[in-house]
Subunit: 420 residues, 2 copies
């Protein structure tokens, strides 16, 4: 296949009214990028014949591969299948293999097989069926004007299963493409303009086929080098050299040399130090614990945590003294310190991180600290250091910010870079 560009069309009113966040596109893009396919555009349209047809016309004109998700279900609002059938001049026929699969699914779930479900097994006779191991709606592949068009259901795990078992193996066989290499460096503690200034000469010296992108988020900036070229091995080595130059220049703020999450960075560090961690979370309500355990293998360094959402739990379980809370409030340096030490004793880990704060914008009755105030402490039993933070957004965003800042604080502490 010569034209190895792709375009993604996602279909569904829920995407246009903000009811659903589109996670499918990013996942698909990552897969295709991994085999050297450039995504040139992503379009989301509603359950609307005219809009879908126009998006199809344009995508087929612009890209060699068109991936469509959504609108393949058994209910009346799912219009993608009949539309594709017309668009590719086919007629709907029952596919026996799919029919048996659908019947099996209903039998396994002890659900009656309805006339309506029969329709799930109908496909245009102009398509190649892509088997859906995870659900009833099959994927379909068409060809037109030298482009291939692949339609899949919008339910993420069904789409992923079809991609993994049918689409990717087929594309890998057909595509002879330039390699695309990405290398990401993660920095903490400086803004993107400061970094750009510091590495300006390196950025200017980059060859035209290597691009540098800055991706800032709270407290972190990711620097992504992207290159495209014929020889993957040579290209990889070359991009690695440029990344080395950047890392050497920014050595004091680099926290990772690959595109990983901060919970993975934390996990790698703990594994390297052969150390264990426990948590005492109040305002973040278990969110940091959730992030830490998102990493496969985290049971080798994470012991567990206490979510002390109410003050009584802080007192009864973590041994925070009532006096401290009365005198300083639950959101205070003293309480954060006691929580960190209490967790360490209770859960017997090498390090602990504690967090107590007010994430909402509204003041909390009986609490001295202002809204957005968060105290965090880290401890190794010998030394306990607390820091105060202020966050100015809504509950959810403040929670995310606090989690990142907490893990960064722990990272600095373990690396001997946190000063009291």
């Amino acid at each position: 296949m010569a034209n190895t560009t792709a375009s993604i069309i996602t279909i569904g009113d829920e995407l246009l009214i903000g009811q659903t966040i589109d996670t499918n596109s990013a996942w698909i893009a990552k897969q295709l990028n991994g085999i050297g396919v450039d995504i040139i555009k992503r379009v989301a349209v509603g359950d609307n014949r005219e809009a879908i047809t126009q998006a199809l016309d344009r995508a087929i004109a612009e890209a060699g591969i068109v991936l469509i998700t959504g609108g393949l279900g058994p209910t009346a609002d799912d219009i993608t299948k009949p539309l594709l059938c017309d668009y590719f001049n086919g007629k709907l026929i029952v596919n026996e293999e799919v029919l048996q699969h659908v019947k099996d699914i209903f039998a396994r779930r002890n659900r009656p097989f309805l006339e309506r479900n029969m329709k799930q097994a109908e496909v245009p006779d102009t398509c190649k069926v892509l088997f859906n191991p995870m659900g009833t709606a099959p994927g379909m592949m068409f060809e037109k004007n030298g482009s291939i068009i692949i339609a899949m259901p919008g339910v993420p795990f069904e789409m992923m299963a079809i991609m993994e078992t049918a689409v990717m193996p087929m594309l890998k066989e057909q595509i002879v493409s330039d390699a695309i290499i990405h290398k990401t460096t993660i920095t903490a503690g400086e803004g993107e303009s400061f970094i750009a200034e510091k590495i300006q000469d390196i950025e200017t010296a980059l060859p035209a086929y290597i691009k540098l992108a800055y991706l800032p988020s709270l407290g972190l900036v990711k620097l992504r080098l992207t290159a495209k070229g014929a020889d993957a091995v040579v290209l990889d080595a070359e991009v690695a050299q440029w990344q080395q130059r950047i890392v050497q220049r920014l050595h004091d703020i680099v926290v990772a040399m690959e595109d990983i999450s901060f919970e993975q960075i934390t996990g790698n560090l703990l594994k390297e130090k052969k150390a264990t961690l426990c948590l005492a979370e109040s305002c973040t309500g278990g969110y940091i614990s959730h992030l830490i355990t998102q990493v496969a293998g985290s049971s080798s360094y994470y012991k567990g945590g206490i979510v002390s959402y109410l003050i009584e739990i802080k007192e009864n379980l973590l041994g925070v003294s009532e006096d401290s809370i009365v005198q300083n409030g639950a959101v205070s340096e003293v309480v954060a310190n006691q929580m960190a030490r209490g967790a360490l004793q209770l859960l017997k880990a090498d390090y602990s991180l504690s967090i107590t704060g007010i994430l909402d914008k509204e003041p909390v009755a009986g609490e001295i600290a202002e809204p957005g105030t968060v105290w965090m402490a880290v401890s190794d039993g010998q030394q306990t250091i607390a820091k105060k933070f202020r966050f100015f957004h809504d509950r959810q965003r403040n929670k995310e910010s606090a989690a990142t800042m907490g893990m960064l604080m722990l990272w600095k502490f373990i690396n001997g870079k946190l000063t009291a």
Copy 2:
């Protein structure tokens, strides 16, 4: 303004290689929909002049309002601002108010103000500046062929701040539009085809201006009625009547009559019952606790939780007996029951939910249960009921499924619908 349709363009290579999930579009769509603006399309393009220009041409031809996010930063990969300046025939000039604001931000953060940051204060002289209270890159508004075009930075909280303080107030004043009413009903435990069958006569009887959409996700199906019409009050009452008919028909599987999360459903139920909750989580690692505390005001019913990631924490803190673990494994009915009762004693709540399982696809050394097996138990001190689940996806998806199923199990238990 006559044409109250909108189109969203998001800019950035990170969106096309799958490095970033676009959450901005859904948020923007929800805001606009709330004031009667229909989103007709969302397009994501890379940091590429030609692609951005083409997307702009098309969006301006198709929609009355065009919203653009991304590419406004101070580094070389941010090309949106000079491009918009050319596109709207302007030249870049320093905006004094923005300059002062940028300088203030750097002063407050004790960071040197660089020449490069001066550029942040430059705007095309053909735009109206939309002040960015949260960052250095200002929003910009242009007009062309009767459409208004609004460009904002891609960092979510900066975009949100500009939308809330500048864009929405302006649009609300200008737009005289039909009302859009959405009403969502959430059901649990039946598939969409079964539901469609049960309410087929109601769906057929719906007037043309009321649409019904089915949004299935694990264990749940959302039924969304959407209507558009001149009189918001009349329309709202009419859609409410149709929703009532659907709810009456499906009464035994309806869990909510608004588009809320399962953690909100759980919270509403606990508040209604004036009851408190605690958690003992093993494999979900704090995720359910995180979800429960996502709801503002959850401290009125949620006491806290134990994340017993390692077996020793189950034994030492939750009083799970070593014998039980040796005989049945940590993923077992006995252990789930002991965890639920242990949490209730330790955290002194009215209800507890416990969960122990293997979320990964790989077997765990020394564990009898198969990968994907999860045991959950709910208890009110009098009665403790455990259920076994099997999940077949990856760690992250299994975690989400387990959390939903756990909250559903608790919901049924409190409502007297869970049988041992």
